[in-house]
């Protein structure tokens, strides 16, 4: 028999974007919220020190049961289907994108403008920063504008990062402390960071934000009902209508007993991968291409950014290990300037590193080094430091950068699996070589200005902070949702966060996904009465 669960709002997924929507809605509105999550529950905070220890000693994953066997897909995918989603083991790095990101067509004649401007998002960036607890340093206001100060003071620079800040300044690059979802001061019941340097993959004290803190609070106060191990398989519209009436789901514990969620508003918050997938699966006679897909753009324009990185020797000592995960950042290059390739926007981050200083068992001539010889060689090489530098650069997606249903693979519950393919738009394809070369030259310049040497460079071909697949826009023929994340085709269906991005900037995306989700929540909440404060 089908179990029916009713609520005012049904949120599909429990990642960071779902957590933002649920928290804001239940803070501000009188509405019942049910959250449906395919994955398992997370380990409690109290278990994390021991799990971290096993990670440090043996490399074991500290996140048990954080993925579902059989959900691997063709194409780039980071595994985490669990209550809290990918942000259970994110790095917590939270830059804002820059005003230019939302206007690249107007400014540079490239790709598309977003239907919103940076200023529209600024209050929601601020709100996300307050809810997550972001510690940050204000960059130069013209590059890093913000309506209000960061909610928390910046995480202090380690001694090594202070040296590297001076080193970058010698090359004419002004840097500052990377904003992070790691507490510089105690925040909403979580302690300040103590720099034990395993932010990724696991913060053992809860100084780094992860969505479990939001879910614990919301569940504890009875403000949401969250069903884990429950997979939504399709959305159905009411007969003869575009209004979404129900979400059909299956419990992983009782696959024979279907569950049906009925709600006034449905929110798809299942990330860049599973959100378009669910919409494509929800085909019917009236919606033959799936839900929200009259434009044919569900699954299209997947976007992200690639990176070029380098290790650069510096002529002074550093002490990597005091906090190698924290970095310097600059937004100086997020505004396209003439002089390089026709269009290139990128960030630049600098970390201390021990690459090139690791203990060696063979000396330069291949001589075996044991005991005191090994230590002497190690000391000699540790006397000067290494900087790790990396730039994400903006990649413009092609329409064919897409998620489709895979004819060859099925999910464990029998639906076609998603298949992912990232493809650059012609402009990015054409500029790729020159862009990457330009970044390598920038690293050479940094090295030379600081009397150092580039030890090695690398390029990741995958696209980081994946987004897109249900892009927002003003024109229903050219986009899947409006600027609030409301589907053009179904007035009670919202798609939030990463999938709605038009392009993916050249910096970590999750703060933007959270801000976009909060903006969506403000629209979702309008139909419900305000909560008395």
């Amino acid at each position: 028999m089908t179990r029916v669960i009713e609520a005012d709002v049904c949120i599909i997924g429990s990642g960071i974007t779902a957590a933002m929507v649920a928290e804001k809605l239940t803070d501000e509105r009188q509405c019942s919220v049910v959250v449906v999550e395919a994955g398992d529950e997370f380990d409690p905070l109290t278990a994390r020190p021991a799990l971290r220890r096993r990670f440090l000693d043996y490399g074991e994953s500290p996140w048990r049961n954080d993925h579902i066997a059989g959900t691997e897909v063709a194409g780039q995918q980071s595994r985490s289907m669990v209550v809290g989603g990918l942000a259970m083991h994110w790095g917590g790095v939270t830059p804002r994108w820059s005003p230019e990101d939302f206007r690249i067509k107007s400014l540079y004649g490239i790709h598309e403008d977003w239907p919103i401007a940076y200023d529209d998002l600024d209050p929601f960036y601020q709100e996300a920063e307050e809810r997550l607890g972001i510690a940050g340093e204000q960059g130069p206001p013209d590059l890093d504008p913000r309506g209000k100060p960061f909610p928390q003071p910046a995480l202090p620079l380690t001694w090594g990062l202070s040296q590297l800040k001076r080193w970058a300044a010698d090359a004419g690059i002004a840097t500052w402390s990377q904003p992070s979802a790691k507490n510089a001061v105690p925040w909403r019941g979580r302690p300040a960071c103590c720099r034990n340097d395993t932010c990724f993959p696991i913060c053992p004290i809860g100084a780094k934000y992860s969505p479990d803190f939001t879910w614990n609070a919301l569940r504890h106060s009875g403000r949401v009902q969250l069903l884990s191990r429950t997979v939504v398989r399709r959305l159905d519209a009411a007969a003869g209508s575009d209004r979404i009436e129900r979400a059909q789901a299956v419990s992983r514990d009782h696959p024979g007993e279907p569950i049906e969620f009925r709600a006034r508003t449905f929110v798809v918050a299942a990330g860049y991968l599973w959100s378009p997938h669910l919409l494509l699966l929800s085909r019917s006679a009236r919606h033959p291409n799936g839900m929200a897909n009259r434009s044919g753009l569900v699954g299209k324009y997947l976007c992200g950014h690639r990176n070029v990185s380098a290790y650069v020797s510096v002529p002074f000592a550093l002490y990597p290990g005091t906090n190698e995960q924290h970095s310097l950042v600059t937004k100086q290059f997020m505004r396209h300037r003439t002089g390089g390739p026709r269009y290139l926007r990128h960030d630049l981050r600098i970390w201390e590193s021990d690459v090139g200083q690791e203990p060696r068992i063979r000396g330069d001539g291949g001589k075996l080094l044991l005991g005191d010889d090994l230590l002497a060689d190690w000391r000699r090489r540790a006397a000067t430091g290494t900087a790790r530098v990396r730039s994400y650069y903006d990649v413009i997606p092609d329409r064919s950068s897409d998620l489709t249903l895979d004819g060859a693979r099925r999910t464990p519950w029998g639906d076609p699996a998603p298949r992912l393919a990232w493809r650059d738009a012609p402009v990015s394809k054409e500029l790729r070589g020159a862009s990457e070369q330009h970044l390598r030259e920038l690293f050479e310049h940094l090295a030379r200005a600081g009397n150092g040497r580039v030890l090695s460079t690398g390029t990741d071909s995958f696209q980081d902070h994946p987004a897109g697949g249900c892009r927002m826009g003003a024109d229903p023929a050219q986009s899947v949702t409006d600027s609030w994340g409301r589907s053009h085709d179904h007035e009670n269906l919202f798609i939030v966060g990463a999938p709605t991005c038009v392009s993916a900037s050249s910096a970590n995306g999750t703060l933007t996904f959270a801000a976009l989700s909060l903006r969506s929540a403000s629209a979702i909440g309008r139909v419900f009465p305000a909560r008395a404060t």
Partner: protein, 196 residues
């Protein structure tokens, strides 16, 4: 210590590891864990003295070797490794090296008795070095401890990844992976032995 972004095993190695989950393999693993507790202390101490920095002194080498034994006893083959970034592959730790390493210690000792008429633990530094040399023949870089073919390499690799070895090399109290007051983190790490 593992680098979080670069998982240990390739896809091919992972497939090979699936064999690890047969009932016979489970039994073998259980035997492996028991065997880990039976490493020959005396020979292992002597290996430690041969490969670790003499600067640690006898008082320093003993605790390193005991720490290595504890680490080995806690090792679990087939455990899920930290996921790689941007890849769906789930990778697992290799079977415990304990049975192999135990056999190597026994072989070292037998070799010492044959060649020098004494247990390995009683040999002088030069003779120990002669017997250990083949263990390092094919080793070009320090592997992750559990991936070391030979116990001598495993011990050295394990020590080199400890926070105290890192402090020794940098001559400063970095205290990698320790909690520290946030307000103190801008300060230069204090030189070992106190401020100079």
């Amino acid at each position: 210590m593992p680098s979080p972004n670069h998982p240990d095993l390739s896809r091919r190695q992972l497939l090979a590891l699936l064999a690890v989950f047969s009932p016979a393999a489970v039994l073998r693993r259980r035997r492996g864990r028991l065997a880990a507790q039976g490493l020959d202390h005396m020979t292992l101490d002597a290996v430690g003295a041969a490969v670790l920095p003499a600067e640690l002194g006898v008082a320093g080498i003993g605790p390193v070797v005991r720490g290595f034994e504890r680490w080995l006893a806690g090792y679990r083959g087939g455990a899920e490794l930290i996921h790689g970034y941007g890849t769906a592959d789930i990778q697992r730790t290799a079977p415990s090296p304990a049975p192999r390493w135990k056999a190597q210690l026994a072989a070292l000792d037998a070799h010492a008795r044959r060649r020098f008429g004494q247990p390995f633990g009683s040999l002088g530094a030069a003779d120990r070095a002669v017997l250990l040399a083949p263990a390092f023949d094919a080793v070009k870089t320090l592997p992750r401890p559990a991936a070391a073919q030979h116990v001598a390499v495993g011990l050295l690799a394990w020590w080199a990844a400890t926070p105290s070895a890192i402090d020794l090399a940098y001559g400063a109290s970095i205290g990698r992976y320790n909690c520290r007051p946030l307000a103190a983190s801008p300060e230069r790490p204090v030189p070992l032995g106190g401020p100079r």
